[in-house]
């Protein structure tokens, strides 16, 4: 921890803004009423929530993943790249991560994550359907997270400095409260609602086929 380093200080402030922003948005979500559901469930909602997070997420269980294998793979790689960057960012707060033994092992995930991000930006511009759906935030968020992965990639390979990596991370964190990135947190709420809705009804997990 180097409090004399300005980019370190900017990063700490950005962390407070970014994480605080997510907390505020989650608190706003929790401020909405959630009436109790007294209808007797067919299947325990617990079982269906577990299913929603596990088997229900497997690509062959989702028509969309079956139809768009590349998009699915791209999404997985992009998210792996982001999570690897977060781990690296955490490490870099305490030690110079690139000096750590084996940190270069992160580079394939980061490299692929970057390529996935870049491809996603291009597809968002080129695909007519995605153009119809896009908001400016979709580009800003995507470009920022792609840049953080790129800077992390450069950092572990000693191409760019830790300060560049922190700069990119700070940009993402400062923008985060106004972006779609909090879907990382909303995801859990949506999956719970999804699991409970289809689980209580006995649709998921699917009952044993009678024929």
């Amino acid at each position: 921890m180097d409090f004399t380093n300005p980019s370190y200080l900017v990063l700490i402030v950005s962390l407070v803004v970014g994480l605080g922003g997510i907390l505020v948005r989650v608190a706003m979500l929790l401020g909405h009423s959630a009436p109790k559901d007294p209808s007797p469930p067919r299947v325990s909602p617990f079982k269906s929530i577990v299913y929603a997070y596990t088997i229900g997420m497997l690509p062959w269980k989702k028509e969309s993943a079956r139809l768009h294998k590349l998009v699915y793979l791209r999404g997985v790689l992009l998210h792996l790249g982001v999570f690897t960057s977060i781990v690296l960012l955490w490490l870099s707060l305490f030690v110079d991560a690139k000096s750590l033994y084996g940190s270069v092992a992160f580079s394939p995930l980061l490299g692929l994550g970057f390529l996935a991000g870049l491809a996603a930006v291009i597809v968002r511009i080129a695909d007519k359907n995605l153009r119809a759906l896009n908001r400016p935030d979709d580009f800003i968020s995507l470009i920022l997270v792609t840049l953080i992965i790129l800077s992390a990639f450069g950092y572990v390979l000693s191409i760019t400095s830790r300060e560049v990596f922190w700069g990119a991370a700070s940009a993402v964190l400062l923008y985060l409260p106004w972006s779609k990135i909090p879907h990382v947190a909303y995801f859990f709420f949506a999956k719970n609602v999804f699991g409970i809705y289809f689980g209580r009804r006995g649709v998921m997990p699917a009952p044993k086929k009678s024929i």
Partner: protein, 410 residues
């Protein structure tokens, strides 16, 4: 009013939305993976028919607080005529965003702002007023039932067969739709099952739900709940109506403190149970042709009746086949969500029903069993429009044919 006229929507409208709606509003990342899941898009691949696109129209209105007549009118048109609330898109979304729920909420906003299709609002109001003064139509209803009872006696050959109405102490309150086809087959079924039942004065359908107006929907359900309590029944059995089953079984208990003091089942569940217990005499040769079953979205994906219809049909027909995809993956027929009641949307719903017509054609079956009245009308229309050459039947009617063949040989 001009298109620019601002409609008064409460300042805290967005804040007051229930949490599941707020989650669906916030979570979408606009990845477009839900695109092909929608039967509208499948039959006409234009961007306006992407599920997330429709939801974005609603989101934009809330984000910008753009409550002009023009914007709300456009939203209303999308929510009512471009989405049947089938929720197939929800199953395919990697995040589980409930676009169907958002469209129902958008419908509610359209009703509150006076931009919803009037005919649907009127249908809901008519049902409410019927419940308010039951005496006005009581005599006429009882007369009609007497005539139907005569038919039941002829069909069963039993002069003692009855259609009980207003019977205190009955176990089952059966809620049908309007029309003999919704009352006669269940009456015969209950007769042979020796059920202690009574017919409701009210119809099962609930336009309040279809227009996304919880207040109206609750008032329509209230009539049936009061009747069930007054008669002291153990359960409500809902006839062949998808949205009525979904409403009474899954949605309405949330509107009544503590839920219902009785069970709610579909007639399909009742038949499956009776068949599994061996309590129905059935002769499959009454239904010799290849038969397929259309999974109505409100019974299957939103109702949970995935296997029960199959248990029933396998026992009642000789050659049961499946459409593909089926069960919770099944395509909407294009006639759900109340679209069927608005004649201006007829060509739209024929177009949206194309994937279902193609599914039916691919099986080569000549009989399609449909356990929802809305879907039945739609598939009848698809039959004509796409020249499918099929016969359409109800599931209770199919079972009753097999019962009558087993009991009477005809």
């Amino acid at each position: 009013m001009t298109p620019e006229t601002q409609i008064k929507v409460p300042e805290d409208y967005k804040k007051k939305l229930p949490r599941d709606v707020a989650i669906a509003l916030e979570t979408c990342v606009r990845c477009g993976l839900c695109t092909e899941s929608c039967h509208y898009y499948k039959s006409n691949p234009k961007s306006d028919f992407i599920p997330a696109y429709r939801a974005e129209v609603f989101r934009r209105i809330l984000r910008k607080k753009d409550y002009s007549e023009k914007s709300l009118g456009a939203m209303s048109d999308i929510a009512f005529s471009n989405c049947t609330l089938c929720r197939r898109c929800v199953m395919t979304c990697p995040l589980g965003v409930d676009t169907g729920l958002l469209m129902r909420e958008a419908r509610g906003l359209a009703v509150a702002s006076g931009t919803a299709p009037e005919i649907l609002v009127q249908l809901a109001d008519t049902a409410i007023s019927r419940g308010e003064d039951i005496e006005i139509f009581r005599e006429m209803f009882l007369e009609n039932i007497k005539a139907l009872e005569e038919e039941v006696r002829q069909l069963t050959g039993d002069p003692q067969a009855v259609i009980p109405v207003d019977k205190k102490g009955a176990d089952i309150l059966f809620v049908a739709l309007s029309g003999a086809h919704s009352i006669i087959p269940p009456s015969i079924l209950f007769h042979y099952a020796k059920a202690n039942w009574t017919l409701s004065f009210f119809e099962a359908s609930n336009y309040g739900v279809l227009i996304g107006d919880k207040d109206r929907a609750k008032r329509i359900v209230q009539r049936i709940v009061d009747e069930a309590k007054r008669l002291g029944v153990k359960e409500i059995v809902v006839g062949e109506c998808g949205h009525a089953y979904n409403t009474l079984r899954w949605e309405a208990p949330k509107w009544f403190d503590g839920g219902f003091p009785f069970r709610v089942r579909s007639i399909i569940e009742v038949m499956a149970h009776l068949i599994q217990e061996g309590r129905l005499p059935l002769d499959k040769s009454a239904n010799p042709e290849p038969v397929i079953y259309h999974d109505a979205c409100n019974l299957t994906r939103n109702g949970g009746l995935l296997e029960e219809p199959r248990i029933v049909l396998r026992a009642a027909v000789k050659d049961y086949r499946e459409m593909s995809p089926n069960r919770d993956d099944s395509y909407c027929c294009g006639g759900g969500g109340g679209i069927i009641a608005v004649p201006e949307w007829d060509s739209k719903r024929m177009e949206a029903g194309k994937p279902k017509a193609e599914q039916i054609k691919a099986t080569g079956a000549k009989v399609v069993i449909v356990a929802c009245d809305n879907c039945r009308i739609q598939i009848n229309d698809l039959n004509e429009h796409y020249k499918l050459g099929i016969n359409i039947g109800g599931i209770t009617e199919t079972v009753v044919k097999a019962i009558l063949k087993a009991v009477k040989g005809s």
